[in-house]
Structure formats: structure tokens, C-alpha cells
């Protein structure tokens, strides 16, 4: 049995939305190199809708696949909807992740929230700070 589902392998080998956005409206970065995974998400916002999203990831196959899937899931969606994306939804969309890899989907959820909150902050838009915004910066592996 393979370690990863076909969907994970597809998103890992052919990641969607990989790259950066110059002059992005919001940038989110979570994880740290010491733990072996960093995710960086760039968003372009038009009329409260995520018009474009790109990512860069340093990490294992499931971290890259989770970033790719998560960006697909929020592209073209209103910010309010993107904020409701859960790690569970990302993992399910990938046809599941091995238990010890679930934290990769957590990273994706946090990176997106981080990018959106960065957009709100830099544009002076008031928002309700998510509970996890601090731990997203000080990422550790205890989330799963």
C-alpha cells in the first residue's frame, strides 16, 4: 500500500498555484525550518474575493500537496468563506492523510488564515482575531 493517496501524489507532483504574487494584498507564513516545514501563501483580493492565490512550501510531500489543495479550495471564494476552511476539509479533499501527516493540513489552514489576517491588517480592516493566529506564527506540531 502506498503511503499517500493518488490525490496527494497528484497535488504533490503537479502542484496547483505554486509561485509568488508580486505586491500581494496579503501574505501568510507558518511553520519553521527547524521542524522541517514552512508554508507561505500569497493572496490577491478584489471586492472581498480571493482573485488569485499562490504558495511556496518547504516540506514533505503531504505539506506540498496540502498547500496545493488548500489554494485550489479558496481561489475565487469570498474571504469570509476562505476563513472557514478547515484542515479536515483539506485532508478530506486529498482523500485523507496518514495520521502523522495531519499537521500538514493544519499548516495549510493556518497559512491561509494568516494571509487573510495580514490582508486585513495591512488594509486597516477590522476583523476578529482567530484563536489560532498566535500559534500559527509559533507553529508547533501539537495541533493534530
Amino acid at each position: 500500500m502506498a503511503l499517500y493517496s493518488e490525490k496527494v501524489m497528484d497535488h504533490f507532483k503537479n502542484p496547483r498555484n505554486v509561485g509568488i504574487i508580486e505586491n500581494a494584498d496579503g501574505v501568510g507564513e507558518v511553520g519553521n525550518a527547524k521542524c522541517g516545514d514552512i508554508m507561505k501563501i500569497y493572496i490577491k483580493v478584489e471586492n472581498d474575493i480571493i482573485a488569485d492565490v499562490k504558495f511556496e512550501t518547504f516540506g514533505c510531500g503531504s505539506a506540498i500537496a496540502s498547500s496545493s489543495m488548500a489554494t485550489e479550495m479558496i481561489k475565487g471564494k469570498p474571504l469570509s468563506e476562505a476563513l472557514t476552511l478547515t484542515n479536515k476539509a483539506v485532508a478530506e479533499a486529498l482523500d485523507g492523510l496518514p495520521a502523522h501527516k495531519l499537521h500538514c493540513s493544519v499548516l495549510a489552514e493556518e497559512a491561509i488564515r494568516n494571509a487573510i489576517e495580514n490582508y486585513y491588517e495591512t488594509h486597516g480592516i477590522p476583523y476578529e482575531k482567530s484563536e489560532c493566529s498566535e500559534c500559527a506564527k509559533e507553529h508547533d506540531h501539537d495541533h493534530e
Partner: protein, 398 residues
């Protein structure tokens, strides 16, 4: 094309061992403890294998105990030497920081039972000197256990010199020779080795079989109680086909050791030369005193598991010391022991060769690795930060 470059993990069984094992399973299926002829035929096969292994190791057949593999042999060696020490009131053990977990975890357990353990620093190339061992020995020391060659980074340790020191000081010297057996010369008498562990599947023998050599006079502690097999030191009906397969494979490996080492190390050096050209890469382990088949690099800005998955797609089977491949959160303890920071240790690649690898395969690996490293760097925020000067390179360019 599938290129197997993970021979330090396990090897493909050799034809001679396979034939001998099939023969054994079909015709020598008796229980060596039985008195009848069918049992005695098995006892003879067992004795022949024991004699063959002993001759190749330079010891007496009675000094060999067959085990389920290297881990069991390591466990039994350490526990036995510790018990001998305890009876004499000696409870200090010396080892190194980059031993196999079969040794390190047993030492942890012994520490919980009241032993004191000194783990010697292995420096940046991953070795210890006989001097370091000599300086660490105290009147309380009952055991020195130092691996012959490291499984991850391939460094070869000065076993014979350490053996002399231990003999002089009257301390039991055990070596985990799992990666060395069949690849490097072993003569336990000449090298003053009191105990040695090896495992058959690392030299093209079957899995699930290994042995512990223990010099006459060293009383072994049983880990498995039961029947009187292996002089009462390892209960359980002997796996004759596996034991015969191991002896056959060891004979083959030792008989061709020099020519294999020449061929394999030439391929190894081509890989090392080629992979060194990747910017911000660094070789792990001793560049000279190195197992013939071992290549181990760290590549800055990428993570090892994704590297392995993409190499597999390119037909290259390799391994890594990244946390994601170990199932734990920390990267390889070996890479940390030689001073690689966590973020660098996550981006490691081990290629381990055997005589069946070819120059064409090396060419293919030399094309595949730079391509995959470059791709992963192109999507890595860490690499971007390094390139834009936001983060400082750990692996500097010469």
C-alpha cells in the same frame, strides 16, 4: 527503470544464498534437537554454517550465537556485558552519540536500571578516536560499545585501535558491525573484539537472522528463555534455512570483498563528485574512511521526504534522515550528532550502493538528483529567503 540505491536499509538476496535456502527448506527441514537422522541432518547443516561463519570471523564456532538479527544481537551483547559488570560492581558504559537505536535504546534502558552511560562526541566527520575511548575509561567501566561503521553516513571507526585499548584496560569491547560485515575485513582476534553483532540481510543474505559473537569466557544473558538451543543462551528452534542462507551469503561477500569494494567505491566517488557540484550541498561523514557504498548529502533549502518521493518517480530508491521519513519530529540523530542544524538535517539524502549497481545507473542518479533538488528549491520559501539574503546560508559555497 528502477535503481536500488538503498542497500544500507536492506539488500537483495544473492543467488547462492537463495539456492542454498531453497535446498534447505525442501530437504533439511528437521529439528536439530531431534535425535533421529532427519533431525541430525539439520544439526549438521547448522554446525556447518556455524563453522563457516566462525572461520570468516576468525573465532571459534562455540563463540557464535545465532539471533534474529542485529538488533537482538546488540541487545543481548549490551545486557550481557552490563550484567557481568554489575556482578563486579562496575556500572559504567562507554558508547558514541551516533550508534544505531538498537544500542542507544538499550543503553537508555540500562541507565534507568542504574548504569551510567558516557556517549562520546563524534565530531564533524562522525568518528571517535581510540584516545577518546581511553580517556573516558574509568575503573567502573564494564563495557565499551562502538559501531564498526555508521549506517547513515558511512564513517568507518578505528575498531582495532579501540580493541587494543580495551584489552589493555580489561574492559569488554563490543562492536555493532551490522553495516561493516561482508563489506570490511573482520578478524575478531586480530582486532581485539570481544563481542560483535551482525545481520545477514545487509550482505545479501536473508532477513530475520544475525549473530552475536562473544569471546569465550563472556557469559551471555538470555533474552529469550526456553529450550537449550544455542548452548541455552537463545531459546527457540533454529531457523536452519536462514542460518544456512546467512553463512552462504557471508562466504560470498567475504570472498569477493576486495573486488566488490573497488567497484562500489569507484561508483560512490563518482556520485560524491557529481553531487558536490550542486550548490549549497555538503557531504556527510568521513570523506576517506568511508563504507564503499555510502553516499550521504545535505541539500540546503529542501526537505528530504519530498526529495525521496520525487526520486522514486525518477526510478531511484534512496533514503533520508528527515523527520518526515523517520516518523518522529526530529531529524536523524546521526546528522545532529555531527553538528548539522535541524533545518539542514531535514534535507538529507542517503544513497547506498552494491556491486549490482552499474555506471549507467550512477549516470541516471547524477541526472535525477540535481533536477529534483532544483525543482524543490524552486517552490521552497526557505530557498527564496536564502537567495534574496533574508536568511543566511548554513552550507556556504567554497
Amino acid at each position: 527503470m528502477k535503481i536500488y540505491a538503498d542497500n544500507a536499509a536492506t539488500t537483495k538476496i544473492c543467488k547462492a544464498a537463495l539456492t542454498a535456502m531453497n535446498e534447505c527448506m525442501e530437504h533439511v527441514w528437521g529439528n536439530p534437537s531431534s535425535l533421529h537422522t532427519i533431525g541430525q541432518e539439520a544439526a549438521e547443516a547448522l554446525m556447518r554454517a556455524r563453522i563457516s561463519m566462525a572461520r570468516r570471523l576468525g573465532c571459534d564456532p562455540s563463540e557464535i550465537t545465532f539471533t534474529s538479527g542485529g538488533s537482538e544481537a546488540d541487545n543481548q551483547a549490551l545486557r550481557s556485558a552490563a550484567m557481568i559488570g554489575k556482578r563486579k560492581g562496575k556500572t559504567h558504559i562507554i558508547s558514541t552519540a551516533f550508534e544505531h537505536h538498537a544500542v542507544l535504546h538499550t543503553l537508555k534502558r540500562l541507565e534507568q536500571e542504574g548504569f551510567t552511560v558516557t556517549l562520546l562526541d563524534v565530531g564533524s566527520t562522525g568518528t571517535v578516536s581510540a584516545r577518546q575511548v581511553a580517556d573516558a575509561i574509568t575503573p567502573e567501566t564494564c563495557l565499551v560499545t562502538v559501531m564498526y561503521a555508521n549506517n547513515e553516513i558511512g564513517s568507518i571507526l578505528p575498531i582495532a585501535e579501540i580493541g587494543v585499548i580495551c584489552k589493555e584496560k580489561g574492559v569488554i569491547f563490543h562492536t555493532d558491525a551490522v553495516q561493516a560485515a561482508g563489506h570490511l575485513p573482520i578478524n575478531v582476534r586480530e582486532q581485539n573484539i570481544a563481542m560483535l553483532s551482525l545481520s545477514a540481510h545487509k550482505f545479501h543474505g536473508p532477513k530475520g537472522i544475525g549473530l552475536l559473537y562473544a569471546q569465550k569466557g563472556i557469559r551471555l544473558t538470555s533474552l529469550i528463555e526456553g529450550g537449550a538451543q544455542e548452548r541455552g543462551k537463545r531459546a527457540g528452534t533454529e531457523d536452519i534455512p536462514a542460518i544456512v542462507g546467512m553463512a552462504t551469503a557471508f562466504d560470498e561477500a567475504c570472498g569477493h570483498m576486495e573486488q566488490n569494494a573497488a567497484k562500489i567505491s569507484a561508483m560512490r566517488d563518482r556520485l560524491i563528485d557529481g553531487l558536490s557540484k550542486i550548490p549549497h550541498s555538503i557531504l556527510n561523514g568521513d570523506p576517506i574512511n568511508r563504507l564503499p557504498g555510502n553516499v550521504n548529502f545535505c541539500f540546503e533549502g529542501i526537505e528530504g521526504e519530498s526529495l525521496l518521493l520525487l526520486l522514486d518517480e525518477e526510478g531511484v530508491c534512496a533514503s533520508s534522515g528527515s523527520a518526515c521519513t523517520s516518523g518522529s519530529l526530529d531529524p536523524s540523530h546521526v546528522l545532529l550528532a555531527i553538528g548539522r542544524p535541524h533545518e539542514i538535517a531535514h534535507g538529507s539524502l542517503r544513497l547506498s550502493l552494491c556491486a549490482e549497481n552499474t555506471d549507467e545507473e550512477i549516470d541516471h542518479i547524477l541526472r535525477a538528483v540535481p533536477k529534483v533538488v532544483e525543482y524543490l528549491r524552486s517552490i521552497s520559501p526557505v530557498w527564496r529567503d536564502l537567495q534574496t539574503g533574508k536568511r543566511e546560508y548554513v552550507i556556504k559555497e567554497a
